[in-house]
Symmetry: none
Subunit: 402 residues, 2 copies
């Protein structure tokens, strides 16, 4: 257990207060030209600006300065889990991303359909990027594979990508990728690094043998490679470490999966920000912590769509009054990382963050934006400490030591 | 040894410079209304403001963001010791608070006089909150208890609260509380978790047996429970880790005790800030580090007395010229934590901190207050690193590496 959770386990108290963590994925950005405004600074956000004025602001560093994170470690950090301690394997993340309900006995694997030639060498590592419908029908065929003592699940992701899950007792996740990262050579043999993982490796081999027979006539997708073989990390329950009964309200499977990873209650959120707000209102009395996830600030950033990201930020801003009307003791607005549309990718830049509560030591910020947050009262802090600040501002932590 | 002390042990050098650490207990605060001024910002503090102007400012985080500390961990942090590594048990702190000179072989216990009924069950965990004079006379009786091979000390604290110390070789501090935290049940048996602690548990049992006989006719205080059974943590000597000959000038026993914990020389400080300043002047040539503790910024905060805290801050400000007249190479003004009168309690908010020395990289701050310190040149830093900054500004640290 980390020092943070050791403390929260010892100091937590329940005073009935409610906390909302509103995550605008990838919200931080950059100006297109030096000296210009970021997406957040360009957007017209009267509601978020009012929160910044009444609250306290700062910059969240997902892991360490300069380290750009993916969604997995980004969210783990926001949930107060050390992203360097709890490693989420690629196979696990891929399974979470298609809403697969992984259990503690499951080994999850990212698969890539590939093409092998008559000598058994890989000639195309992505099987000509087959259409998603073809991938789906092939997955249906592979889903029929039977292996003694384990359940086998094969699910399509997109195009040549798939997820394989083995469910059974005594499996391990320390098995190498079979993708040789090259063509003209055969796939690698799966090898386990310990006894449970050797068992997994044997199952992988048997699966690949049967898959080869089933797919023999399906060129270009006449085999598959395996990557990111992994099991769920053992993560303390959010409810145990914080004494909060948490609910996750997210539209996208990946974020529901990340919430499930820390054992949040994942609510049906519908498909829009409006249905998310409906759900938040309906569930208000049943939980005391709400993780609300908004995806489109990230996806517009990834697309390099500066104006689109501005529009999405304004859409989010318009939803804020529905949250504040519920009267949470603490409302936090932040992101899991920055996604500057200028970079079309995630970045390491600190994430503009605000906390409102009647116990804030307010700062000079009068708007929610990168430049204001730099001089905010929270300074720059590790995302992993945000939950401590959330609990403190909610009056949910006892004093440490006398 | 922590990384901080590993460094200071390696890099320390003595250049004859002097450092004053002026701790205004609980100095940080909050405005009563959002957007208003804090206690420190309200107070008229020309001397502290001059220091802030000439020096460098920042915010000290006692342990971690969001964590509110008690006086024990708060001061350990200021002295450069990791408060999460060195845990001060409740019994130890209680003994320090009555100026009991604890030694390395002592087990300290917080006692509560209680009432037990004829069945041996606790009917009142605080013995009707007996008057302090009654508690004192009962402690005198218990102080006569004799147990082979250990010295027994029983001292009153206040009302139903007392301190028990066992002094002897081979004792341990890992013994449970005997207070069941409930009435209608008997006290718990003391149980040790290792051999030395089982020895302590046996002594506790014998002490409680004799106490039961002695107090049989003293209802409502006809027994006592034991809590926070603990020994002094093994803490490296301040003088060793920093190469400083330290003096503590504190009016209240608790803070003298905390200074003694890190092996400072505890000087007689009298009862007022004036007598503390007298002592500082008198002892100036004999030491090169002075910890000066001012209590009333905390106690007024705890009382919710905003105006009283402002007055106490102004009182402290008036004493500053007597310190600066001595010409310390480094003068630091900070607190062990914040105590906003709005909250009537300690809080997690960063502590306004200033350092003056002729090696400061000064910042824009022109007054000593929360808002100024937020944008100060020290940024927000862990209290545990303050001693590094003190030594650096005093020219007392060699370069790390070539």
């Amino acid at each position: 257990m980390t020092r943070v959770h050791d403390l929260t386990c010892r100091l937590q108290k329940d005073n009935g207060s409610k906390i909302v963590l509103l995550v605008a994925d990838g919200v931080g950005g950059l100006p297109l030209d030096p000296g210009g405004k970021t997406e957040l600074e360009t957007a017209n956000t009267p509601n978020l600006d009012a929160l910044a004025t009444d609250g306290v602001t700062g910059g969240s560093i997902p892991v360490l300065p300069g380290i750009t994170v993916g969604s997995g470690p980004g969210h783990l950090g926001l949930f107060g889990y050390d992203p360097l301690e709890y490693d989420i394997g690629r196979g696990v993340l891929e399974a979470l991303g298609i809403d697969f309900d992984l259990g503690p006995d499951d080994v999850a694997i990212r698969g890539n359909f590939c093409t092998i030639d008559t000598d058994g060498n890989i000639s195309d590592r992505r099987a000509g990027r087959i259409a998603s419908e073809i991938g789906e029908s092939l997955c249906q065929k592979l889903d029929a594979i039977e292996i003694p003592d384990v359940e086998v699940f094969v699910r399509p992701v997109k195009e040549y990508r798939l997820v394989i899950v083995f469910r059974g007792k005594g499996l391990g996740g320390r098995v190498n990728d079979t993708d040789p990262q090259n063509t003209g050579v055969p796939p690698l043999e799966p090898v386990g690094q310990d006894d449970p993982s050797r068992r997994t490796a044997g199952i992988c081999s048997e699966f690949l043998r049967q898959a080869g027979e089933i797919l023999a006539d399906d060129a270009p997708a006449n085999l598959l490679t395996m990557r990111g073989i992994a099991m769920l990390p053992q993560i303390p329950r959010f409810e145990d470490v914080y004494g909060l009964n948490p609910a996750a309200i997210a539209v996208y499977p990946m974020y529901r999966g990340l919430a499930r990873l820390v054992h949040m209650n994942v609510l049906d959120a519908g498909a829009t920000l409006e249905t998310q707000m409906d759900r938040l209102e309906a569930a208000w009395d049943d939980h005391d912590f709400f993780f609300v996830h908004f995806k489109y600030t990230d996806s517009t950033g990834e697309d390099g769509d500066f104006d689109g990201k501005v529009t999405r930020i304004e859409q989010l801003d318009a939803a804020v009054p529905r949250i504040t009307a519920l009267g949470p003791e603490v409302l936090i607005v932040t992101g899991d990382h920055s996604t500057p549309s200028k970079m079309k990718s995630h970045s390491w830049h600190p994430v503009p963050t605000l906390i409102t509560s009647n116990l804030c030591r307010t700062d000079a910020a009068t708007s929610y934006g990168e430049a204001e947050c730099v001089t905010g009262g929270l300074g720059q802090f590790q995302a992993q400490h945000l939950m401590l600040l959330a609990l403190a501002h909610a009056g949910r932590l006892e004093k440490y030591g006398a």
